[in-house]
Amino acid sequence: MKENPYRPFPATITGIKAETDCEFTLTVAASVAMMPGQFFQVSLPKIGEAPISISGFGPDWIQFTVRAVGRLTNALQELRTGENLFIRGPYGTGFPLDTFRGSNLAIVAGGSGTAPVRPLIRGALDGTLPVRSLRVIAGFKSKESLLFADEFDEWRKKGEVLVTIDKPQEGWDGPSGLVTEHIRAMKLDDPADVQFVVVGPPVMMKFAVAEVRLLGVPEDNIWVSFERLMSCGLGKCGHCKIDSAYICLDGPVFRFSRAAGLID
């Protein structure tokens, strides 16, 4: 075959960082152009393949933040530096960087939803995505399930960052409660002048977007990212189709005004 889009290429692991007891960030060496919000099909031969979103990237490296909860992700947890991942991509539409550039950017992320939005935050920090203002609300189950905890102070240099855990917990003196309450408490000078990103588990996204709407943010300014089972990333396998949209082709990032009409 001249071109086989299913053939992955090896990417050597250059770094492994434990985030929680079951989540970790792999850094691999790969020189590929990509956008925040896109994903790769990541695989290990004889184990399997799954879509994993980019949690960070540079000119010659990519990061994937993974929760070990499946056959492939459990096997990924066993890998060591110097071993290979097999990846193909990037796939999907990323976040609309042209729209976000120079905007008042607000990001609400729940749990593993912080992984795909992290490149936006990093872009705002390093100037590759210049924004007028940055606000982040990141919600986690507990203090043990925080992702990127060692970066929060750095994030705060650029914007207002609120990290909340679902319920108050001993040894945690930060905010608690679901992200929805913290969205409700947000003061926006001009809700129509904010670009709002909401990424997280389906239930969280549903209620978080409802709260964002109540703040007066127009549907067209709200961006969500969907997560679905996929077997190809190319619009063939059918797993990620909702209505006439293929999450792998037309998403995973959608303007909410479009996403609202997508019923599973």
Partner: protein, 340 residues
Amino acid sequence: MYSFSFSLEEFSRVFDALGERYALSGPRRFPGKGRFSGTDLVKYAPLASFDELELDEKSGMSPKSLVFPPDETTFYFNGDEFTEAPLEDERETVVFLRPCDINGFRRLDAIFLENGGTKDPYYMRRREKLHFFMIECATSFENCFCVSMGSNVAGEYAVALRFDQDSVLVQVKDERFAGLFASGAPSAFTPEFVRENARNVEVPDIDEMPPELFLHPLWDEYDARCIACGRCNTSCVTCTCFSTRDIFYADSRRSGERRRVWDGCHLDGFTDMAGGYSFRKKKGERMRFKTFHKIYDFKKRFGYNMCVGCGRCDDVCPEYISFAECINKVAAALKGGDAK
């Protein structure tokens, strides 16, 4: 374009000559292999002679497996080395099929060769070798509703055939087959198409499905009725969904394969994500998902409906669910009528 007439005996000889140059596939009867005792199975299979071609009964399975096998190795693994699986049969293939299935291939092409702008190479290498020999339908079979779906007529064929009691009429469109049929008596044959079915459906013609139709009580019946066996998916000529599965060999964990296997929206696990989240747990939701894909959202993307009305889903459903009837219920519900 040329047309010829053959006696059955003459045609049988042409068939043999064709078989020397091409792999031949068509509906074939397997006596006693049906679902119930004493019944036969008719499915697409290699044909060794003309008398193996089954013309009296609809095939339970579609010819899609010729381009999209139920289980196909995409890569062989030797350690971490990926080797593309070679095509096991390099021969050009002639497939005997009916107009609805020719239109079905058009839908398969849309997904595998057009969607997302990527050509699926595993599909393409089989599809390029395929030549359609269209069997004219004199009358329609049970459960067919091709006329309602507008897929009773097909033009994309190399050769069209009418099988009469004592003759075979042939129209040759593709020049490459002209020589093979040149021994026949000249004829004025042009294929005709079925213009009515016993079963008619009203296909909704709408741009956007109203949200209330997604939650309509008409779907509830299928919660209990459907058993998620996926036969409607596997028998459907236009169902294209698959899953990727890696395996390793029992006697050498270093070696293995990556395969793609048929999957279907009615089957459990179709939407399962790592971590336990899934969508459309209820069977009725799956029925709704499939129905809308076949008669609504595919059209939104590609401009024509996916379902070709072959009726195989109705033929094979063990719970006697009628997809045709379901389409009519959707149409009725859209008109605000009683969908029950």
